[in-house]
Amino acid sequence: MDEPGDTLTLDIDGWEGPLDLLLALARSQKVDLRQLSILQLVEQYLAFMERARALKLEIAADYLVMAAWLAFLKSALLLPHDPEVEPSPEELALRLQLRLERLNAMREAGARLMARDRMGRDVFRRAAPEGLQTVRQAAWQADLFDLIAAYGRVSARTRPVMHIVANRPVMTLETALERVSLLLGETIEWSAIEAFLPGGTDGAFRKSALASSFVAVLELARQGRAELKQQAPFAPLYLRRPA
């Protein structure tokens, strides 16, 4: 993998991406990366790609993208400088060099890290330490109020409870059925359902009367003894005796 120049192994799989390949090629120039000839590096990369293509190796797309970019960089570096073009080819070359320096620095740092005296390989802790134990003991907290409040809670929960249902004024369904049948017998015109309720009542009893009367009307309609109509949902409900 470190073989320089022409003897570089053409194993595309061995590279961790185009930057990795570029770094290996740059190292083959055997100069400080700061003195790197980017033009020469570009030539090296493009030549490498040529050979890979000649050998009909499959080349991943990102290597080809890099090749295209480097070909562009090369022509820009060789052509007369056009001050209108931003960024300048020199800037692009410098950025590439900075990236290579950074990758190289981290690669060397990684190697130095791995070469350190490593735990379990070069230096050892005791294989069978006695170990340190921390035995946790709970000091339970509760005060007298918690205690009696808890008993109050339990007692309240389990004490026999008497449910008292208030005696509410209601109109039963039977009553409603009787009333509506009776009144309907006298009604030929469409009349609102409210006209069938007992007069002078309000509040809870009126609601109950309305609900029961409505159910009574539905029952009478089912039996064919009443007709009802409504223009829209929640609109007034009208009923009459069938013609």
């Binding site: 294989a127 006695e130 035995v135 709970a138 000091a139 918690d146 205690l147 109050g152 339990v154 309240a156």
Partner: protein
């Protein structure tokens, strides 16, 4: 200064996962006077926190025996009793001796396995003999520590049902809440 071979023996013994025979030490540390190194190390560590000890024909380092108590440390953690635990404790205190089934009947909920354990670990509840009834169930009662912790001279000092009612402690929670709401409104008015 420690000599190179003694140093090697020291490292080998330290890293070992059990007592080592002279031969085993030599296998790692290389040729040398293992016995002389062991004598030197024993003397060096005498009186320190670590000692070199011989077990039969094998040697190992261990923590000085008189410091073993340092390796185990007890730590107290303040913890609040769970609602289930405090209710169970209250029922036992009011009804003792009480069986598990009686506690469950009063609470209206089953007691999980750990609840009585916690109360016994805290030293507030103790087993109080078996009831002479079918199945001879175990009964539970409170301890003198329980009285001491809750500042009671005796169980008779526990407020009775009438006291609890007067204190509003028998009201269902939501009613009590409404009362306090009303009280607040009055204060703010």
């Amino acid at each position: 200064m420690i000599d190179a071979y003694t140093r090697a023996v020291e490292a080998v013994l330290f890293a070992a996962d059990g007592p080592l025979s002279i031969d085993a030490i030599r296998a790692h540390a290389g040729e040398g006077d293992v016995r002389a190194a062991l004598v030197e190390l024993t003397a060096h560590y005498a009186g320190r926190g670590i000692e070199l000890v011989r077990r039969g024909e094998r040697w190992h380092f261990q923590t000085a025996a008189d410091l073993a108590h340092l390796l185990r440390r007890d730590r107290e953690e303040q913890r609040k009793l769970s609602r289930a635990a405090i209710e169970t404790l209250a029922i036992i205190a009011y009804h003792e001796p009480a069986t598990r089934a009686e506690i469950e009947a009063i609470r209206g909920v089953q007691i999980s396995a750990g609840t009585l354990d916690v109360l016994m670990a805290a030293g507030w509840v103790r087993p109080a003999g078996r009831r002479e009834a079918p199945g001879r169930p175990l009964t539970f009662a409170t301890t003198p520590d329980f009285l001491a912790h809750f500042g009671l001279a005796s169980r008779r000092d526990l407020p009775g049902i009438d006291d609890l009612r007067a204190a509003g402690l028998l009201d269902p929670v939501d009613v009590a809440f409404e009362h306090s709401e009303v009280a607040n409104r009055d204060e703010n008015a």
